[in-house]
Amino acid sequence: MLVLSRRKGEKIVIGNAIVIEILTVSGDGVRIGITAPGETSIHRHEVFTEIQEANRNAETVLGELEKTSLEQLAAFLRVNQK
């Protein structure tokens, strides 16, 4: 890992288009400003891992039980729509 020291108001550039600025520092908290192209996704790491975990857990194992379950679910939705 690359480690850089920065002070409040200083910036880091990543690639050609991503700029990270240290806005404020107070105690062990830091506020960071990020400028990046619109298509760049930016996540708090804990949110990212949470969604990643949810995606992994949702990879479908469609055994007989799950198939029956999905059938019941589909039937439930059809009834509810009527």
């Binding site: 996540h43 969604i51 990643q52 949810a54 995606n55 949702a58 990879e59 379950s69 999905l70 679910l73």
Partner: protein, 134 residues
């Protein structure tokens, strides 16, 4: 017509239906190209299946089929008439325990066939939302 094997069943698709997830799904950059396969026996559910990674198969559904009020509206950039919205379903062997991920919906542009999974920050929507019990 090419076909894709999903859980030991062959489904045909056409090349122009392939969805391009440039960034993959969140935390799954491998999920680059996928097809959306409707499941007539399990309507309204569909498969979202990776073209490249054999175990990346997701059951997805248009959230409007289950949650009439669902509005992932912070993304004003999306033109609703051109966009398919999907949520990932976590199928439980007990259908009542099945949950859907309303926090990180998938959007597919019908014109360009490009897809993205977005994370709704500061939203009340949950990663594991239970079905309405009525």
């Amino acid at each position: 017509m090419p076909s894709i094997n999903i859980k030991e069943q062959e489904y045909s698709y056409s090349e122009d239906e392939i969805i391009d997830f440039t960034e993959g799904l969140v935390g799954m950059p491998e999920m680059r190209r996928a097809v959306l396969v409707p499941l007539p026996d399990f309507e309204p559910f569909c498969w979202l299946a990776s073209m490249e990674v054999e175990n990346m198969r997701f059951i997805v559904v248009n959230p409007a089929e289950i949650f009439a009020d669902y509005k992932p509206s912070e993304f004003a950039i999306l033109n609703e008439s051109e966009t398919i919205t999907l949520v990932i379903v976590k199928v439980s062997s007990d259908w009542r325990k099945t949950t859907v991920n309303l926090r990180a919906p998938i959007f597919i542009n019908k014109e360009s066939n490009r897809g993205v999974q977005l994370v709704l920050t500061d939203s009340p929507y949950r990663l594991s939302e239970s079905l309405p019990q009525n």
